[in-house]
């Protein structure tokens, strides 16, 4: 498993956790109809730190001294994953900005701090798509390779 795959795996493990933590205020407001506890709003910062620390460690750690940073195939895989991630950003952004209008109603309102969560949520979603796209491409191409 190379560096790109390891980082993608870490992201894949932690991104859903981050999204779940971020869903907390949304569930509190729209499902339970109550204001979330203030401490819950800071969880996302903690989760971000948890994401960053293992990622940095994995990025700096090599399998061997001769391990190359990335080859042409890795670059192509990352490029495709970035495109998938970009497309997912637009789809997610369209979803989170248009759907609330139909769910809450045209005369409804949302707290402004929810905008910050929308921003971070879309970024996390894009990161998740990037990680999945990287792993799918390595997974599919790795089967049956002999050389």
């Amino acid at each position: 498993m190379n560096k790109t795959q390891k980082v993608a795996l870490v992201n894949l493990a932690i991104m859903p956790l981050s999204i779940a933590v971020m869903m907390y205020p949304l569930v509190e407001i729209f499902v339970f109809k109550r204001t979330p506890e203030r401490f819950g709003l800071y969880w996302v910062v903690i989760v971000f730190c948890v994401v960053m620390v293992p990622s940095v460690i994995l990025l700096r750690r090599k399998q061997s001294a001769s391990e190359v940073e990335s080859d042409e195939r890795d670059d192509l895989i990352k490029k495709r994953a970035v495109i998938a991630s970009f497309i997912s950003v637009w789809i997610l952004l369209a979803g989170v900005t248009v759907i609330p209008r139909f769910v809450i109603g045209i005369k409804g309102s949302i707290p402004v701090w929810l905008l910050a969560f929308i921003n971070l949520g879309v970024l996390l979603g894009a990161g998740l798509v990037y990680a999945v796209a990287v792993l799918i491409q390595y997974g599919r191409r790795g089967k049956g390779e002999k050389s």
Binding site: T97, R101, K107, I118
Partner: protein, 144 residues
Amino acid sequence: MNRAQKMAWLFVITISVAVLLAGGVVGILYVKLGTPKALAGLGFLGIAGFGGLGPLIFKKDKGAVTCDERDKLINRRAALAGFGAAYMVVGLVCMIPFFVLGPKANISVTWLPMIFMGAGITHFFAHSVAILVQYGRRGKGEKS
């Protein structure tokens, strides 16, 4: 000037006209009629949609090479610049109300699709400007 540059110019012109006209009309109507009616001026943003007609207006040259590796690289960089600019707008629009209005303020959900629309317009504008800047800078002094 190649096809990509012509389409980029069309986007830049239509988006600029749309934004300036919409901003001006909203400003005038806000002074004269107030907030709800002033938002009707945003309808002028529809002019930006004419930029999407570029591929129909500027058709591909028959038999000629339409784009090479350099064109693809320029387009890729421009797309990246467009995405970066668009997400910067999303980030600012999402974070500024939090600091200006305060965390306890509420905003109408009707503003949310505006974020998406603003990001989209910014993306196309920045993408087009990046194409023009890259072709413009590289075109100077080329002899071959």
